[in-house]
């Protein structure tokens, strides 16, 4: 994560303001975000209270006028997605319209593929699971619409192996869709052929990385590839591929049906739409909920998760976007909005919008050490900075938990994390480095006092 200088940040912000004032029409800007009205929610069966099969899905509005959407053509669909401002929901937040249009080039004989990334492994994240077991028809319809937009021949849905029941729901859904003529030859009567396959993984977080996922579908070890060449040029089986997250694909048909401008009406500029948030950890009612983007973090936790255990004042810190994002301390949590830009300004990121809430009873050093151990286990082992560096950080972090370290080692682990970040083949190295940096940035005094206590105890024993 590049750290802007204060002046640089100011000038960037000023540029954005100027750009807005100079070119945007004078519509009143929205300032209050959330709560979302039920009629604006996309995932209407999030809690599984209604029938997830085809009959229930049709009653909730899935597969409505899909033929008309497909008949509108590639450019229309891509334009709707671009207008909606949808950004990737898998963690990176790349503008989806732009990403899908990379596939919009003349065919050179190779078929094109859509790959759906349902390998939900990021600690804290459990949103795709709910889509796949309770609202799977949205995903299949999304595959069809997105596939049409890209000219894809087929979609592979790569689901993590641990999600056995979710993948069996998905397979039943696909069988229903084939039987009803919604996918397969002449999908929905539009003349377009489209197949959907489910592929189960076998337990590797690294296969959530797009090139590692492609390697895994090809039947190899899930070791990421270097980019370039990007998947849109050389992807699965050597063919042009787009890898998209489940949520991104599943909201596409609703955006096409209700209009890109409807989706754009939620959230701030460049951070539009609705998002599934997972709130876990030390809250009274951990849950998954669909809310508007840019909702204030405090309101999100208090309204939907019953507030922090012991009251808001008992809050220590929050990891806002799944374990790869740096934590933010209480004073930032008081005012920050849950969207991509606001969290980047707070030196963290939205990631997958999986909040991990920690109250004052938490040993935050132990929490972060456990995360680094997670990254150490999940590293594929290809490149040295990640394989060696993350293991080294893991050893150091567990010593910091006890306080069995020197003060200077805090600067040392910061330096190691900086040497890993940005120097690896994939972003797992960054994902391991950022939690450590967040901890040192906000909880250095705690680490120092733990070291001092340990030293004191040692001297008392000697």
């Amino acid at each position: 994560m590049t750290e802007f200088s204060f002046l640089g940040e100011l000038s960037l912000y000023g540029f954005i303001l100027y750009f807005n004032c100079a070119t945007a029409p004078e519509t009143p800007k929205k300032t209050k975000f959330g709560p979302l009205a039920d009629q604006d929610r996309i995932f209407t069966n999030l809690y599984g209270r209604h029938d997830w099969r085809l009959k229930g899905a049709l009653q909730r509005g899935d597969w409505y006028k899909t033929k008309e959407i497909l008949d509108k053509g590639v450019d229309w669909i891509l334009n709707e997605i671009k207008v909606s401002g949808l950004r990737g929901r898998g963690g990176a937040g790349f503008p989806t319209g732009m990403k899908w249009s990379f596939m919009n080039k003349p065919s050179d004989g190779r078929p094109k593929y859509l790959v759906v990334n349902a390998d939900e492994g990021e600690p804290g994240t459990c949103k795709d699971r709910e889509i796949m077991r309770n609202d799977p028809h949205k995903l299949i319809e999304g595959c069809l619409v997105a596939g049409r937009a890209m000219g894809a021949r087929a979609a592979y849905i790569y689901i993590r192996g641990e999600f056995y029941n979710e993948s069996s729901n998905l397979q039943v859904t696909i069988n229903e869709a084939y039987a009803a003529g919604l996918i397969g030859r002449n999908a929905c009567g539009s003349g377009y052929d489209f197949d959907v396959f489910v592929m189960r993984g076998a337990g590797a977080y690294i296969c959530g990385e797009e090139t590692a996922l492609i390697e895994s579908i090809e039947g190899k070890q899930g070791k990421p590839r270097l980019k370039p060449p990007f998947p849109a040029d050389v992807g699965v089986f050597g063919c042009p591929t787009t890898v998209a997250n489940v949520e991104t694909v599943a909201v596409a048909p609703t955006i096409c049906r209700r209009g890109g401008t409807w989706f754009l009406s939620f959230g701030r500029e460049r951070n539009s739409g609705t998002k599934l948030f997972n709130i876990s950890g030390h809250v009274n009612n951990p849950c998954t909920v669909e809310e508007e983007m840019s909702v204030p973090l405090k309101e999100l936790i208090e309204r939907h998760a019953g507030g922090v255990r012991g009251g808001w004042d008992n809050l220590l810190c929050v990891i806002p976007g799944g374990s790869s994002t740096p934590l933010i301390p209480r004073h930032v949590c008081d005012t920050v909005l849950m969207d991509f830009d606001a969290l980047i300004q707070a030196q963290t990121g939205l990631g997958t919008a999986a909040l991990i809430v920690m109250d004052k009873s938490t040993d935050v050093i132990r929490a972060i050490a456990r995360l680094i151990e997670f990254y150490k286990h999940e590293s594929c082992g290809q490149c040295t900075p990640c394989r060696e560096g993350v293991d080294w950080m893991n050893n150091m972090m567990w010593r910091f938990v006890k306080g069995d370290a020197q003060s200077a080692e805090i600067d040392m682990i910061w330096e190691i994390s900086k040497q890993i970040e940005g120097h690896t083949i994939c972003a797992l190295g960054d994902g391991a480095a950022w939690p450590v940096q967040g901890l040192i940035r906000h909880f250095r005094p705690l680490m120092e006092s733990r070291i001092a206590d340990f030293k004191q105890k040692q001297q008392a024993r000697a």
Partner: protein
């Protein structure tokens, strides 16, 4: 005096190496030893052949992949082999390589890389407990301790009656229902120590308890009552743009 202080520092050094409850565990599959050594139960002659039913499954899986790229079926076919045999002896890996027409080494690579492939026998019920940070914050330590004291095994071990194997795994993707365990294919969520003891008792008695949250809620909704989706979902055509 010199000797006793060396002894003292040696002991305190050893004590520091032992981390309290949480250990980097020997796992029953990948993450354990990567070298294959022939044993009477696990050698290239160990009998393994797909049943006719499973062979049909294998062929259906291979149909999902284009011609020339059947190697992509390695992971799902190894999974079918593991479901049939309970774990993966080296002869099963060789058979998979033969069916897919790839070199055995390619299959060994895949079987050692992914954590769900078990290269050692496991008990009838494979209890996998998640101890990653979101579950750890919700006290997965107490669940782990409850399992260990109830079964009398440590992480990575199997009970003497070969019913239960306990392993510690990384994030299972059910974080809002923490703490939780996965037993074979099902998730048991929202656990208290008494819940997991009940589950183990039921399994011992030969009944499989229903999966899901144990705290009374249905899936991932807030336990204190719905805060969203309180109205019935709108029907088809709601809010659809007029020009479609």
């Amino acid at each position: 005096m010199f000797l006793s202080s060396t002894l003292r520092s040696a002991v305190s050094y050893a004590v520091r190496q032992v981390r309290s409850l949480h250990q980097t565990s020997a796992r029953a599959g990948a993450g354990g030893i990567f070298v294959h050594r022939d044993t009477p139960d696990n050698n290239p002659e160990t009998p393994f052949e797909f049943s006719p039913e499973n062979m049909k499954r294998v062929e259906a899986i291979m149909n999902n992949y284009p011609e020339g790229h059947k190697a992509g079926a390695t992971i799902p076919v190894l999974d079918v082999a593991q479901r049939q045999h309970g774990w993966l002896p080296i002869s099963a890996m060789n058979r998979v390589a033969e069916i897919l027409g790839i070199a055995p080494m390619r299959v060994y690579e895949v079987a050692t890389f992914y954590t769900m492939f078990l290269r050692q026998p496991v008990g009838k019920y494979h209890i996998q407990i998640c101890t990653t940070t979101p579950c750890m914050l919700c006290d997965s330590d107490s669940i782990l301790e409850a399992i260990q004291s109830k079964l009398g095994v440590k992480v990575g071990e199997t009970t003497a009656d070969k019913l239960f194997t306990l392993t510690e795994v990384e994030c299972l993707g059910a974080c809002v229902n923490a703490p939780m365990v996965q037993i074979n294919d099902s998730y048991y969520e929202d656990l208290k120590p008494s819940d997991i003891e009940q589950i183990i008792d039921e399994l011992k008695a030969g009944r499989v308890p229903p999966p899901g949250p144990r705290s009374g809620r249905f899936s991932c909704e807030p336990a204190g009552g719905l805060t969203s989706l309180t109205e019935p979902p709108p029907g088809p055509g709601f809010g659809v743009r007029p020009d479609l």
